[in-house]
Amino acid sequence: MDIGPYSGILKYIGKSIIKIISLLIAVSILSFILVSASPVDPVRAYIGEVGMANMSAENLARLEAYFGINTPPIERYWNWFTDFIQGDMGSSLLYRQPVSSVIQVKFMNSMVLMMTAWLFSGLLGFILGIVAGLYRGRWIDKAIKGYSLLIASMPTFWLALVLVMIFSVWLQILPIGLSVPIGVNAAEVSIFDSIKHLILPALTLSVIGIANITLHTREKMIDIMGEDYILFAKARGKSRFSIIRNHALRNIMLPAITLQFASISEIFGGSVLVEQVFSYPGLGKAAVSAGLGGDAPLLLGIAVISAALVFGGNLIANLLYGIIDPRIRRGSAYE
């Protein structure tokens, strides 16, 4: 069945989407099993210890029925799943709101943070990698490489603490945390305030994210600069800049972009830690509160959403491969 030059891609997209849906269902099942296995009692988490002591037996039984304590797990999962399909993820115990609306708000906040860090670290890492690869063995290469290796071993939350110490406590130019200043109505927060509170978390995430992409781009750059066509371009007297632009850039962009899209999982992990340090109201902080507070529906919702994000990133990475590299588009990489 050949519909045209892009039939390969279309078939590939179709296959991938089916695979992603199957994986997402599996993720939800896995998360559901984990959440159900928890010793945390949802009723107890919902009304608290004091409430447990003061509650009459029949009210307790009603609540237990509401949380489905005595329904078999498979039935409970099926109920959750059918609701989920219709956009109802249950209601959060901590926030006393539907999970979907909690996630919606947190998701936007997290996206702003993650996208900023993602773009910034990607661009900067790419440029640093090119510079390091170009001046291989010189001091600038050694500096960039050393920095990347150091950053790769650095605990995200510690870097966040160090940045707080420098910029908030010592220099006192940026706020410590809380994306909404204390005593100010959430609706009255100006854009400027939000940005000010975004700087440190985004900076932390970017600095951590740079390491991988820099090292990777550097390797590729070194490989490519050793190619014959680069030597020939040099022999023709082309300038260094035009060699990079015309010959090297496309070749190193491909793996770099793929890597960056595939790193969404790591950025998400980093954002959990960073949001915790800076009390940034995003998905990561919500996940931690949900985990500590016994809020199973919220934790479940966040797990599925973040997995969707990761799978989406991987799919885009694979698709971009084809768009940037015409050889793959025509070739059999999608088979």
């Binding site: 994986l23 296995a37 290796l149 406590v169 931690v288 973040s306 997995a307 799978f311």
Partner: protein
Amino acid sequence: MNNTGSVTILQKYQRKRLNQRSQTLLVLAFGSIFLLAITVIGTLVGDIAITTNFTQKNFLPQIAHPFGTDWLGRDMLARTLKGMSISIYIGLFASVISAVIAAILGAAAATLGKKVDAVITWFIDLVMGIPHLLLLILISYAIGRGTFGVVVAVAISHWPVLTRIIRGEILQLKEANYIKIAGKLGQSKMKIVVKHMIPHVFPQFLVGLVLLFPHAILHEAALTFLGFGLPPEQPGIGIILSESMKYLSLGMWWLALFPGMVLMTTVLLFDLVGGSLRKMIDPHSAQE
């Protein structure tokens, strides 16, 4: 007699340097000794790490207390080393468990046919689809917080990457000429596995195991930092850092700076040791 002018580049005097293999060995030895030292000292430190001394509260770093003391007068150096040694033990245990899981699954995927391979690859995709930290939170939520939870969570979630590596190695090996020839020469499957495959895969496995350490340690510290891991009375690195957060705005920078640096150094050293080990085992990768 001055004849520097006639000296060619090849003859020019060069400072004697260790060759690359010796350098690698040196790094390997130094890193291992340092890590061993942290572990042993941390284990032997004992009660100093939790002894409070209210006459010595909030000291800046000084000779008697190189890392300073905290708001209860506990020596931060002792606490840090103790916490680090706990992290290393957990990391060790977790990496071994994960590596064993990876070895079994990787070998199964590569040898037991297409269906098993598809199932295992699918599982790898599944586990890697949930952001790792979130998966850790989920597992420790399922088991219940505390030391046991964090150990299990870190131990059973680090296998996918190594499984992929081992699967790839074995698949490649199966196609290698010398394995095929050994089969044609009538050697039994058992003999081929023991004599030809394991000697090739085992070093890779060992390197993979050592390189799992840094991840396991960082994840343990992160999970503890978030409040899911070790209980607050343990001097874990994550605990120390999350407690220090409350005192940062009071200007007590040393509470966070030094423990974090020790954690970073440990992770860096494990990375170096793993990298050196790879260079020793696989000389191809030694020349960058």
